[in-house]
């Protein structure tokens, strides 16, 4: 990967961040539009979680990763600290791979 896509992403992201403070002095976004913007972020992030958990290079990515993610997800569901969730997910996948699970 080269510097150009990074600069484009940085500039675009900063523009999104700056647009809010600039716009808020002028117009009022409806609650419905705000809700839809939030929901679109939820849809994108959920899709990212699903694909990052189960796929790699367009196919199934092996059992160790989804098992680790599932352990982390259960801990998150029961409101354990974020660090515990992250470490447990990684640790589970690492141990499974050490045991030869792909």
């Amino acid at each position: 990967m080269t510097l150009l896509p990074v600069l484009l992403l940085a500039a675009g992201t900063y523009a999104f961040r700056l647009a809010g403070p600039l716009l808020s002095q002028r117009i009022q976004v409806s609650a419905r539009v705000q809700r839809l913007l939030t929901l679109s972020a939820i849809a994108l992030l959920s899709a990212l979680v699903a694909t990052a958990t189960l796929t790699s290079s367009g196919g199934f990515g092996g059992a160790a990763r989804p098992t680790g993610v599932a352990v982390g997800a259960v801990l998150a569901w029961f409101r354990l600290p974020f660090v515990v969730v992250v470490v447990a997910a990684a640790g589970t996948a690492a141990v499974l791979r050490m045991l030869g699970v792909p």
């Binding site: 510097l3 716009l23 796929t55 680790g68």
Partner: protein, 227 residues
């Protein structure tokens, strides 16, 4: 600094530590995907939006084009527009400060600001959280990028499982009712439907489409909220 109380510092420290850990995993994953150490660090300082950084690296590592990666990352970061409309009052009056504060706009700093009622505390929470996260995230990324290269394969550490689990943990509050009211429960139910449909669309289309596109198609999941 009297407006910065001890509980706020403790909560920010916890979030910053977590961001540092995720930053380490991002640095290691980026290097494993063929991104150089300095480019991973530059991206983290200039973009400073973890989800989109993971997405860009993931799309490129998965064989997708850089254009698709940037578009997917930008789509993910579009939520900062409504965020900015919500927190514009904490950014201050002078333009140099407003421009710096704008860059510190992340999910966590916005959430911390929203949790405060008093304007001075709102401002303190936003800046403390945003500033601390910027430092811990970037240190974490640099450490992860350097260690990742030394370790060779971050998958052996299970870091590829850490990221989806972390994202899931960050998503959970949006999928749960924040209060015991019918309105809050209904909103959470809609969010869960959108999340499930979006995830299903992306999974089903992944074998047939270029990397990055399935995640964009997940936006069709919004259809359940438009009825």
């Amino acid at each position: 600094m009297s407006t910065v109380d001890r509980a706020l510092v403790r909560d920010v420290a916890a979030i910053a530590a977590a961001a540092g850990v995720v930053g380490v995993s991002f640095g290691a994953i980026a290097v494993a995907a063929g991104v150089s150490v300095w480019l991973a660090s530059a991206m983290s300082m200039l973009v400073f939006a973890g989800g989109s950084q993971f997405m860009v690296v993931g799309v490129v590592a998965g064989g997708g084009s850089p254009v698709a990666a940037v578009l997917a990352g930008l789509l993910l970061n579009a939520r900062h527009l409504p965020f900015g409309m919500v927190v514009s009052d904490v950014l201050g009056r002078s333009w140099p400060m407003r421009l710096i504060g704008t860059h510190l706009m992340v999910d966590e700093s916005v959430a911390f600001a929203l949790a405060q009622q008093d304007p001075a505390k709102r401002r303190a929470a936003y800046w403390l959280c945003g500033g601390t996260l910027f430092v811990s995230w970037n240190i974490g990324v640099l450490v992860g990028a350097l260690a990742g290269r030394a370790l060779g394969n971050p998958d052996a550490l299970g870091l590829d499982a850490a990221f989806p689990a972390a994202m899931f943990a960050l998503l959970l509050p949006s999928l749960r009712a924040s209060a015991d009211t019918a309105e809050s429960k209904r909103a959470a139910a809609v969010a869960r439907k959108v999340a499930l449909l979006g995830a299903a669309i992306a999974l089903v289309t992944t074998p047939f489409l270029p990397a990055g596109l399935p995640v964009l198609l997940a936006l069709l999941g919004l259809s359940v909220a438009l009825r």
